[in-house]
């Protein structure tokens, strides 16, 4: 079968004209800064001047910086609550929404997903209002159940948990979208067969639904972990790391070092520590999808 297309070399200049603008922009704004950032992390740059070479000093400083350690702790707590929370709620809600013949189901689905497209900044400002310790409507609702007033974002003991709740409101919709697609891919005959064999709701969930959504669950858990560890906008829009550093997460630490106290080299070092963890998670995901492709 002879293709009338011109052969390889004849098209090379034209091909480069097509791909070059995008390629230069993408590589110039990702690979270049990535290497630059590494070099920066070995200097004491103050964002304006390039600074002196200080070797591993920045990384050693990170090791016994209580503020960095606290930011890691806050990030881990948020991640440990947000990831299972959003994935678990996402699966449950997707199961509840997976009944295509119910009336209004499209509207319910839209309602659940809508918060996901609202920006973290707008979400943060909205919930700072709702959770306002003095006039907020959240306290009014709690008082209806006889629960005493809470400080929410203004109390160092509750701020991080309030933030997690706000994150779940905005982030669960994504998990619902993904799980719903996976649930709709389960052949109805499979559920039917299990039912005929006498399986109850719980057994169908355990032996049909869960195994069917397992690959997608891996994706959701890793994706949500990446999202959780990169938390920033929501923190900036609500607490700016306070009160008493109780919501200062790792990215907030990086932002603060690089752009507030102008310790850019130090901020770059912290960014590299975070990036190694994120890249490792990305690598795990890659290996898992490859393994799944091979054995499926």
């Amino acid at each position: 079968m002879a293709r009338p297309m011109k052969r390889a070399l004849g098209e090379t200049p034209a091909a480069w004209a097509f791909v070059l603008p995008a390629t230069l922009l993408i590589l110039g704004l990702s690979l270049l800064p990535m290497v630059w950032s590494l070099l920066l992390s070995f200097t004491d740059s103050d964002l304006v001047t390039s600074g002196r070479w200080v070797g591993m000093d920045n990384y050693e400083r990170l090791l016994d910086d209580p503020a960095f350690r606290q930011s890691i702790r806050n990030t881990l707590i948020f991640t440990a609550l947000y990831v299972p929370g959003s994935a678990g709620l996402g699966l449950l809600i997707a199961m509840a929404l997976n009944r295509p013949r119910t009336k209004l189901i499209g509207i319910y689905r839209t309602c659940v997903i809508v918060p996901f497209v609202v920006s973290p900044a707008a979400t943060g400002v909205l919930f700072a209002f709702i959770c306002d310790a003095r006039f907020g409507v959240a306290n009014r609702i709690l008082s209806a159940f006889g629960i005493p007033r809470q400080g929410f974002l203004e109390d160092p003991n509750t701020a991080l948990y309030t933030l997690t709740g706000i994150g779940l409101w905005g982030g669960t919709g994504f998990c619902v979208i993904i799980f719903l697609a996976a649930l709709q891919d389960i052949p109805p005959s499979l559920v039917e067969a299990a039912r005929i064999d006498g399986a109850g709701r719980w057994n169908i969930f355990r032996h049909v639904t869960l195994p069917s959504v397992r690959p997608v669950t891996t994706f959701v858990v890793i994706w949500q972990s990446l999202v959780a560890m990169q938390l920033f906008d929501l923190v900036y829009a609500t607490t700016r790391g306070g009160p008493l550093g109780s919501t200062a997460v790792v990215v907030y630490f990086i932002y603060n070092q690089a752009f507030k106290v102008f310790d850019a080299g130090y901020g770059a070092a912290a960014a590299y520590v975070l990036a190694v963890v994120l890249l490792a998670l990305g690598g795990v995901r890659y290996l898992l999808t490859r393994a799944r492709r091979r054995f499926a």
Binding site: E11, P21, Y108, P115, A122
Partner: protein, 293 residues
């Protein structure tokens, strides 16, 4: 027996088979669980809209009022006369629109190059581009800021636009779509003397409208909703985007919540409209990239 079972279980794949045997006036109890659930997710947004139409005297007391006693436009009036929200709105529109248009153009060109044109190193280069997806933003933000300053773009809308001109995701998405299109028409057009660019513009792009719509919607949402980069790159009020303006304004004016909520409505409404208009393609693109990964 079997059809009754299918109807009850609600798992019958075919609507037409099951519908006639279904009793007409049965109450569907699932609404009892689903309606409050849906409400839980939209209630905060409804509250935002309600509060934006309240007088501050209604909001700043305990317990706060739950329904406005009439429609007050104080919040909106304040936002439009005493703040730079109109300007921030225009800035956001400008930055987002330029990003969308440039993504459509540059991603289409690159995707077509990688999908249809053969040149040495094409596979390696495309692989390299896709690999950059995993580089987290925190790693690049500090040098990118320095780069923008060196380019003379510091504290300008240009600094917001330049990093968003093109996205790897867009190139990847469109390339997948182009690869799935039949080659026959394109080849016929080339025999008739069409250039590559003409083929792309006249034949491929019209066929790729769904993918282009998805890319446009996703680019708009990410660009419109971004806070981190504007926060880093912009320092003058005049060049704020809505997200940056809203957070700054809210941080300074805790007592005029009606105005803060009015600003929030203005900030959020455009993405809600775009989402509701493109919901189907939006959800499909998310699931296909996620599940096929």
């Amino acid at each position: 027996m079997k059809t009754a079972e299918e109807v009850r279980s609600g798992t019958s794949p075919s609507r037409t088979v099951a519908a006639p045997s279904r009793p007409r006036r049965r109450i569907d109890w699932s609404h009892v669980g689903l309606a409050p659930l849906a409400l839980l997710f939209v209630l905060p947004l409804l509250w935002e809209v309600l509060a934006s139409f309240m007088a501050d005297a209604q909001i700043n007391k305990y317990p706060p009022a739950l329904v406005p006693d009439g429609i007050h436009l104080d919040g909106y009036r304040y936002v439009f006369t005493n703040t730079d929200f109109p300007r921030w709105f225009l800035n956001s529109v400008l930055v987002s629109l330029v990003s969308v248009v440039s993504n459509l153009v540059l991603c289409s060109l690159a995707a077509y190059g990688f999908a249809r044109l053969r040149f040495r190193g094409s596979g390696v280069l495309f692989g390299l581009l896709v690999a950059t997806i995993i580089i987290p933003f925190q790693l690049t933000m500090i040098p990118t800021f320095i780069l923008m300053k060196n380019l003379g773009l510091a504290d300008s809308l240009g600094a917001l636009i330049l990093p968003n001109l093109v996205s790897v995701f867009g190139v990847y998405l469109l390339r997948q779509f182009f690869l799935a299109l039949p080659r026959d028409i394109e080849e016929a057009a080339i025999i008739d003397g069409c250039g590559r660019l003409q083929v792309l513009v006249r034949i491929v792009l019209p066929l790729a409208r769904p993918a282009l719509a998805t890319l446009a919607a996703l680019t708009f949402l990410t660009s419109w909703n971004d806070l981190t980069w504007p926060l880093i790159a912009i320092s003058t009020d005049d060049n704020y985007t809505l997200q940056l303006g809203l957070t700054t304004f809210a941080g300074q004016h805790h007592t005029i919540w009606s105005a803060v909520m009015a600003g929030n409505v203005i900030t959020t409404l455009p993405v809600l409209i775009v989402f509701l208009l493109t919901q189907r393609t939006f959800i499909q693109s998310l699931t296909s990239t996620a599940v096929k990964g």
